[in-house]
C-alpha cells in the first residue's frame, strides 16, 4: 500500500510523457470503453423499457403504451408456464447451493494454503469441473441416476450438478482471498493460547469475512442463472432458467421481457446487498485500526 501514491503519479505520467494533458490514445480507448459499457447495458435496458408496455405491446420498439400488464400476465397466465413455482424453486435451490459453496470453498481454501499430497490432482479436477461442457456433465449425471435407480430432483441431483460449477469458482475466489491472509495472525492467536476452534472463530473467519461474502455472491448468482447442468438433473419441476428457456421457444409476447426485468431486479438486489456488505465490513475495519 505504501507504493500506491507513487504509482498513482507515475501511472498518468508514464503513459503520458507529454506534459500537456492526455495522449491521443487516451481518447481512443475512452471511446472503446464507453462503447463497450453501452453495448453491455444498452440491450438490457431496452427489454426493461419494453416490458412496461400495455396490452398492445410487441417485441420491438416503438413503445406501445405504459402499464404493468405483462407483469400481471406473467404471474397469472397459464400459457406462460409455472413462473411463480419455478422462481420459488430457483431461489431455494440457490440458497442451498450458496450455503454449501461458502462452507466447502472456505475449507478447501484453508487446505490449499499449504501443499499436501495430491493437491495438484485436486486442483486439476477442479479446473476440469469448471471447463467441462455443462450438458455433458448433465447427461452423465442423468445416466448415472437412471443406472442406480434414483429419480432426478431439483433439491438433490440439481444441487450436486450446480455445485460442480459453483465450487470451482468459489475455491478460485478463496485462493485470491487467502493470498492476502497473513498466517502470522493465526500463529499469534495460537501463541496467545487459542485453541484451533477459537483461532478459527475469532481470528480467521472475521478476517476472511468479506471474501466469504464474495464467494456467496458467486454461489448464489451462478446457481440462480445455471442452465446446462440443471437441464437433465432437475427432474420434472423446472427452475427459473429452464422456464425462461422454454419461454424463449414458445412465448412471443413482452411477458418474456417482464420476466427478464423481474429476474434482473432480483440479481441486482443480491449484488447490491453483497457489495454493500463487503463495503461496510471494510469501512468498519478501517475505523477500528488503532492510530499508530
Amino acid at each position: 500500500m505504501s507504493t500506491a501514491p507513487a504509482s498513482k503519479t507515475v501511472a498518468g505520467h508514464a503513459i503520458a510523457p507529454r506534459a500537456s494533458g492526455r495522449p491521443w490514445t487516451f481518447y481512443v480507448l475512452l471511446a472503446v470503453f464507453v462503447l463497450y459499457v453501452l453495448a453491455l447495458y444498452g440491450p438490457m435496458f431496452c427489454i426493461y423499457i419494453l416490458s412496461f408496455q400495455d396490452v398492445r405491446g410487441g417485441l420491438v420498439f416503438p413503445m406501445k403504451g405504459l402499464s404493468l400488464h405483462w407483469f400481471v400476465d406473467l404471474f397469472t397466465q397459464v400459457r406462460t408456464g409455472d413462473v411463480k413455482g419455478s422462481f420459488d424453486r430457483s431461489v431455494k435451490l440457490a440458497v442451498i447451493v450458496t450455503v454449501i459453496t461458502v462452507v466447502v470453498s472456505f475449507l478447501a481454501g484453508l487446505a490449499f494454503r499449504r501443499r499436501f499430497r495430491g493437491d495438484g490432482v485436486v486442483f486439476y479436477l477442479m479446473i476440469g469441473s469448471l471447463v467441462a461442457p455443462g450438458l455433458v456433465l448433465s447427461i452423465g449425471i442423468g445416466l448415472l441416476l437412471t443406472f442406480i435407480g434414483v429419480e432426478a430432483r431439483w433439491y438433490t441431483s440439481a444441487v450436486g450438478a450446480q455445485l460442480s460449477w459453483t465450487l470451482p469458482f468459489g475455491v478460485l475466489v478463496m485462493f485470491a482471498v487467502m493470498s492476502r491472509f497473513d498466517r502470522a495472525w493465526e500463529e499469534a492467536a495460537y501463541d496467545l493460547g487459542a485453541s484451533r476452534w477459537q483461532a478459527m472463530r475469532l481470528v480467521v473467519i472475521p478476517i476472511l469475512a468479506p471474501g466469504l461474502v464474495a464467494v456467496a455472491l458467486f454461489g448464489f448468482t451462478l446457481s440462480y442463472d445455471e442452465f446446462a447442468r440443471t437441464l437433465q438433473t432437475a427432474g420434472s419441476l423446472n427452475t427459473l432458467p429452464l422456464e425462461i428457456w422454454s419461454m424463449t421457444l414458445n412465448v412471443t409476447s413482452p411477458s418474456l421481457y417482464a420476466l427478464g426485468t423481474v429476474t434482473t431486479i432480483i440479481s441486482f438486489v443480491i449484488i447490491a446487498v453483497c457489495l454493500g456488505t463487503i463495503g461496510r465490513m471494510q469501512k468498519r475495519r478501517a475505523s477500528r485500526v488503532p492510530p499508530l
Partner: protein, 287 residues
C-alpha cells in the same frame, strides 16, 4: 508438522472431493462408458461394446461440419473478446489515474456477469431484429432502404451474443495481471528511451500473458460447451456440437450423444492443457 498438515489438508479438502467425485468424475466416466455401448432405441443401453459411435462421428460429413462450425465460432468469439477485453483492461489500469475510479469502472463492467445470461442474450432481439432499433435507425438515416436481414438469427448475432456475454472473462484476469505490473518498470523503460509501442510489446504484453491465458480458457471452454446461444441466436440456421448432442438425448440416442460428448471433451481438454502447460495458472490466481 508436515504429517499433521497433510492430514488436515485432506480433512479440509474432503467436502470438495465429495462433490467433485460423484458430480464430475463419475458422470464423465459414465459418459465414456456409454459411448462404447449400443442403444436399444428406447433410451436403454445394450451392453455389447462397439466402436460404431465413434466411426459414425468421424465418417459423417454432417458431424464434421458441426465441429468446424463450433471451432469457427470459438475462434471468432475468442478474437473479439480478447481485443475488446485487452483494451478495456489496459484503459482501466494505465489511463485511469484514480485507483478508486478504476475499481468502480471495473465493477461496472462485472455487474452484468452476475445477471442472467439468457436474458442478456434475448435482449439483443429488440435491437438487431428486422424491425429493431438498428435497422430502423439505418433506414431513417437513409443508409439502407431494406432492413438488413443478417443482423439477427445469423452467425453475426451468435458472435455478438457470445462476445457480449464472455468479454468479461477476458477483462477480469487481464485487469488482474496488468494491475500487478510495477509502474516503475514502465517509467524506467521510458527513461531508457523506449517508445510507447516498445513498452506495449516488451513489457505490457508479456506481463499480461497469464491473464490472457486464463481468459482464453474460460472463453474457449464456454463457447465449445454451448448450445443455447447458438440455437436461439442463429434462429436454427447454425448448430453446434453440443446442440446436436442435445437433440440426440431428446430422441434417447444416448450412446451417439456420449461419443460426441467424449470427442468434444477431449478437444476442450487438449486446448486447456496446452494453455496450462504454457502458464502457471495456479500461481497466477494465488499471488
Amino acid at each position: 508438522m508436515a504429517a499433521r498438515d497433510g492430514v488436515f489438508g485432506w480433512l479440509y479438502i474432503s467436502p470438495l472431493m465429495l462433490v467433485l467425485v460423484p458430480f464430475f468424475v463419475a458422470p464423465i466416466l459414465v459418459v465414456l462408458a456409454a459411448s462404447f455401448l449400443q442403444s436399444d432405441g428406447f433410451g436403454g443401453l445394450i451392453a455389447s461394446p462397439t466402436l460404431q459411435n465413434y466411426v459414425d462421428i468421424f465418417t459423417s460429413g454432417l458431424t464434421l461440419n458441426l465441429y468446424v462450425e463450433t471451432i469457427k465460432f470459438t475462434l471468432l468469439t475468442w478474437l473479439f473478446s480478447l481485443i475488446i477485453g485487452f483494451w478495456v483492461a489496459y484503459f482501466l489500469v494505465f489511463h485511469i489515474r484514480s485507483p478508486l475510479l478504476a475499481i468502480g469502472l471495473f465493477l461496472l463492467c462485472t455487474v452484468p456477469f452476475w445477471t442472467s445470461n439468457i436474458i442478456r442474450m434475448i435482449s439483443w432481439i429488440p435491437l438487431l431484429g428486422k424491425e429493431g432499433l438498428i435497422n430502423m435507425a439505418l433506414i431513417k438515416s437513409g443508409v439502407v432502404h431494406e432492413p438488413l436481414e443478417f443482423l439477427l438469427f445469423s452467425s453475426f448475432s451468435v458472435v455478438v451474443a457470445y462476445v457480449h456475454q464472455l468479454t468479461i472473462f477476458m477483462i477480469v484476469p487481464i485487469f488482474n495481471s496488468m494491475g500487478r505490473i510495477d509502474k516503475r518498470v514502465v517509467e524506467a523503460a521510458l527513461d531508457a528511451g523506449a517508445s510507447r509501442f516498445d513498452i506495449m510489446r516488451l513489457i505490457v504484453l508479456p506481463l499480461s500473458k497469464n491473464g490472457i491465458a486464463l481468459g482464453t480458457i474460460f472463453v474457449v471452454s464456454i463457447v465449445m460447451g454451448d448450445f443455447f446461444v447458438i440455437k436461439v441466436m442463429s434462429g436454427g440456421g447454425s448448430a453446434s456440437v453440443v446442440g446436436a448432442l442435445y437433440e440426440d438425448v431428446g430422441v434417447l440416442q444416448y450412446p451417439s450423444a456420449a461419443a460426441s460428448a467424449v470427442v468434444l471433451t477431449i478437444m476442450v481438454t487438449l486446448v486447456v492443457t496446452a494453455i496450462l502447460r504454457s502458464v502457471d495458472v495456479r500461481k497466477e490466481i494465488t499471488l
